[in-house]
């Protein structure tokens, strides 16, 4: 057991057999597999599955973004006839469902984590490659089911992405669209659970020799914690969805008053999933920022261990704050949930100071991934500050379900899933495809996105405070709300243009590739030690692993991380543990 948790350090006695043998055997099983389309359909390679996840989730992102633009067009005038009431309700329901369930989560822990985590821990693949493929295909099936629901009689579901009972029951929301929504989420939920199992198992059992827990990159740490949160949260959602389906079709009365059921139970179950879900959608992106900022500051992450414990405490607290989504129901004990919600600001603040401390006295270069991370810091700062306000019940009472909340959670999720998420795309794209994205177009993408982001959401705070509820298709014209909505709509279209630029960038890199090399950013993670793209089982050689940035240690043996001027532990450089010269590698 100790060997698994703390594998022997590579290089000590040249003990190559310490590397798992099954790994090597497994390596030959698939090398002569199919190519082309058949490869994408049958693969169990974590890299191909990761890319499938990312491509699918980006399609969902663009579709949901187009829905957002249509919604914003509708709201640009007080009583627009662009959409009917039912079309409007369908669109915001699907916008939220696609963005939250089918983009943000799958992009991060299905896509990036799948691709990057095995590389960062020096593993040849995920722990359960076939389960991994099953995860993807469940997710793909869920996505298709969700999209097809637009085409059934009665249209797509229209009860909002939170599906509050009893609006979501068979009486109030008849039609197959709602059932397909439930099914799509159940499929995606199982996919997430399987991916969570896979990530946790991979991180616990497939780390390369030398990669102790406290030498794991923060991105991997965050994915471990995310995996654990998924295992806590998603089974609850899946169970609640099954209950809802039973209420709709089998005559149970779990959420129906008439049979003795309790509608608010849905909210408890949903938010017991929903608030950990917020951090399932945030922690991976914190992890991306914690890879990018040190790389472009040429420094180790500041306060590594504090950051790990901050992440763990965010996860722990997040399981006890669900009722802050339910203050206005008046049926929950408020101060307890208020205190826990406010306390989350503490570890989140720690992370901010870690990121700032990492940049402090660094040598910052502002390539596209770093710019996106700076954008993430500002966006998430604003979302975090308004989140503290919402944690106070007396303030939540008059901001809940208004545009203030809409602005708040869009700033949080935009900060994480969009700014940090696309920082991750720009950062790891060279590793995934061996070619660069244009930095110039990347900067255009960033600045338009950054401007559009503030234009879109700052007016929403104000119009929310003035009393505009969310999810309304029309609003009175005599209250002065229109100008805020119009600014917001303009901002949304600026964001839309910025993402068209990303498509151009991807197209150019596809047609006129600029080779990236193995480590274009001089980054520290193990993934930068192998080729771009990595070979079938990731590594032919591994460097000694003495810290969370073995590639940096290998390339800069004279620049180990410092604690009050002294190297932190036996980390990089000239092995205090008898490992010999740093330029040695171990064949896998």
């Amino acid at each position: 057991m100790t060997d698994v948790i703390n594998p022997p350090v590579i290089g000590g006695g040249g003990d190559v057999t310490a590397v798992d043998e099954h790994v090597v055997e497994h390596g030959h099983a698939e090398e002569h597999g199919p190519t082309g389309v058949l490869k994408w359909l049958t693969t169990t390679d974590h890299k191909v599955i990761g890319l499938s996840y990312m491509i699918t989730s980006l399609v969902m992102f663009y579709l949901a973004g187009i829905m957002a633009l249509v919604i914003r067009l509708q709201l640009a005038s007080p009583s627009s006839s662009l959409l009917s009431f039912s079309q409007y309700n369908e669109l915001f329901t699907m916008h939220g469902s696609l963005m939250l369930y089918l983009f943000a989560g799958p992009f991060a822990f299905g896509g990036l984590a799948n691709y990057i985590v095995p590389l960062q821990v020096g593993a040849p693949d995920m722990a359960f490659p076939r389960l991994n493929a099953l995860s993807y295909w469940l997710y793909a099936g869920g996505s298709i089911t969700m999209l097809l629901s637009f085409f059934v009689a009665g249209g797509a579901s229209s009860f909002g992405w939170v599906a509050y009972a009893p609006l979501s029951n068979a009486t109030n929301s008849p039609g197959a669209g709602s059932d397909m929504w439930i099914m799509a989420l159940a499929l995606t939920g199982f996919s997430a659970i399987f991916t969570g199992v896979n990530l946790v198992a991979t991180i616990f059992y497939l780390r390369a020799p030398g990669m102790t827990m406290f030498r794991m990159p923060i991105f991997t740490w965050n994915m471990l914690v995310t995996g654990i949160l998924i295992l806590i949260a998603f089974p609850v959602l899946t169970a609640a969805l099954i209950m809802l389906y039973c209420d709709r079709h089998f005559g149970t009365h779990i959420f129906t008053v008439s049979g003795g059921g309790v509608p608010v139970l849905w909210q408890h179950l949903f938010w017991f999933f929903g608030h950990p879900e917020v951090y399932i959608l945030a922690l991976p992106f914190f992890g991306i920022a914690t890879e990018v900022i040190p790389t472009f500051s040429r420094k180790p992450v500041f306060g590594y261990k504090g950051m790990v414990f901050a992440t763990l405490s965010i996860a722990a607290l997040s399981t006890g704050v669900w009722a802050h989504h339910m203050y206005t129901t008046g049926v929950v004990l408020l101060p307890f949930f208020s205190l826990l919600s406010l306390l989350i600001a503490v570890p989140t603040g720690i992370k901010f100071f870690n990121w700032i401390g990492t940049m402090w006295r660094g040598q910052l270069s502002f390539k596209t991934p770093m710019l996106f991370c700076i954008g993430f810091l500002f966006a998430f700062l604003m979302g975090g500050v308004t989140g503290v306000m919402l944690a106070a019940p007396a303030l939540d009472f008059f901001t809940h379900d208004t545009y203030f909340v809409v602005a708040h959670f869009h700033q949080v999720l935009f900060g994480t899933a969009v700014f940090a998420g696309f920082a991750g795309l720009y950062f790891w794209y060279p590793k995934m495809f061996g070619r660069m994205l244009s930095d110039k177009l990347g900067k255009w993408h960033f600045w338009l996105l950054f401007i559009g982001f503030w234009l879109t959401f700052i007016p929403q705070y104000e119009v929310g405070l003035k009393g505009m509820p969310r999810r309304v298709a029309v609003y009175p014209s005599n209250l002065g709300w229109q100008v805020y909505n119009q600014i917001s709509t303009i901002g949304a279209f600026v964001i839309g243009i910025s993402f068209a630029i990303l498509l151009v960038n991807l197209w150019i890199s596809w047609r006129n590739p600029v080779p990236a090399g193995d480590n274009p950013w001089d980054a520290g993670g193990l993934e930068w030690f192998t080729t771009s793209p990595p070979p079938h089982h990731n590594f032919t050689h591994l460097p000694p692993i003495r810290s969370e940035r073995p590639t940096w240690d290998y390339n800069h043996p004279d620049s180990p991380a410092l604690h009050h001027g002294k190297p932190t532990g036996p980390s990089s450089g000239h092995g205090g543990d008898g490992s010999g010269g740093t330029k040695e590698t171990v064949e896998v």
Partner: protein, 275 residues
């Protein structure tokens, strides 16, 4: 290892980031004092000053949180901007690889905890005042339904119903505790009056109660906040606050048999209602 001996951060800043130390400590005083000093003289920061006693309390909490949030935002944004501008890459030299600084880590953990506890204290005080349901002579039973509102005045045989494009008006007296008993007859709705700085869900199967005390005459718009189906956007109502005598007169005029429905408060009869 640094240990944060008492007074040392201010008196003897450590080697690194000395400005940051003093800034963090100054923050405590700067940030927390507005909460204590929050008064009506402050701007509303985009919110409503509040048309009820409860709303005024909530607005004061809002001002305190807003100022605290603004200070935190400015401080952190300044630090980010400073790092971005000051530490731009100027050479290929590898900077000092500092990874830990125990004193700073303790400070930026402890200071936020203290701030959060102070914020929590004020939020509980305000919540208790906003949530209290004192004894009252005026009760209005509110029933939300798809897609409208029923306001009935028990003991007076007065009921106001309105839906979609015929928005109902709830008439209440100024300066008295109004006890609202809130129910829903179908799905979840939200009773929300922006200028009262308050909303509460109408839940099927649950009776929610709250109270407000309007501090000046006027008509205040209200709207459903919780998505409730097709015509959620049109579930609008008004609360009209009039003098107690005008309120009594309005009750008397509209008091008939229980089955009678008054779609609108007749505005001419409550014209004299302003304080």
């Amino acid at each position: 290892m640094d240990s944060p001996s008492a007074g040392s951060p201010l008196a003897r800043p450590r080697r690194r980031l000395p400005k940051l130390t003093t800034r963090r400590l100054a923050l405590g005083a700067v940030v927390l004092s507005p909460l204590v000093l929050a008064s009506c003289q402050l701007p509303t920061f985009g919110g409503y000053r509040g048309a009820t006693k409860q709303a005024v309390d909530a607005n004061k909490l809002w001002q305190g949180f807003f100022i605290t949030g603004l200070c935190v935002f400015i401080l952190v944004a300044f630090l980010i901007l400073w790092a971005v501008l000051r530490y731009r890459r100027r050479s290929d030299k590898i900077p000092a690889q500092t990874q830990y600084h125990t004193l700073f880590e303790i400070i930026y953990t402890v200071v936020p905890i203290v701030m959060v506890l102070v914020l929590f204290y004020f939020s509980v005080v305000t919540e208790n005042s906003v949530d209290a349901v004192p004894a009252s002579n005026v009760q209005v039973n509110v029933t939300a339904f798809q897609w409208g509102w029923r306001f009935s005045y028990p003991g007076h045989n007065v009921t106001v119903i309105g839906q979609e494009l015929q928005n109902p008006t709830m008439v209440v007296p100024v300066g008295e505790n109004v006890h609202i008993v809130l129910r829903s007859s179908d799905v979840i709705h939200g009773f929300y009056v922006p200028e009262f700085n308050f909303s509460r869900y109408a839940l099927p199967g649950v009776t929610n109660q709250f109270s407000f005390n309007v501090n000046h005459a006027g008509t205040f718009r209200g709207q459903c906040t919780q998505l409730c189906g097709l015509y959620h956007s049109l579930m609008i109502f008004q609360v009209k606050a009039v003098s107690p005598s005008a309120y009594e007169a309005w009750l008397a005029q509209n008091s008939t048999s229980a089955s009678t429905t008054a779609y609108h408060a007749n505005s001419s009869t409550v014209q004299g209602g302003s304080s």
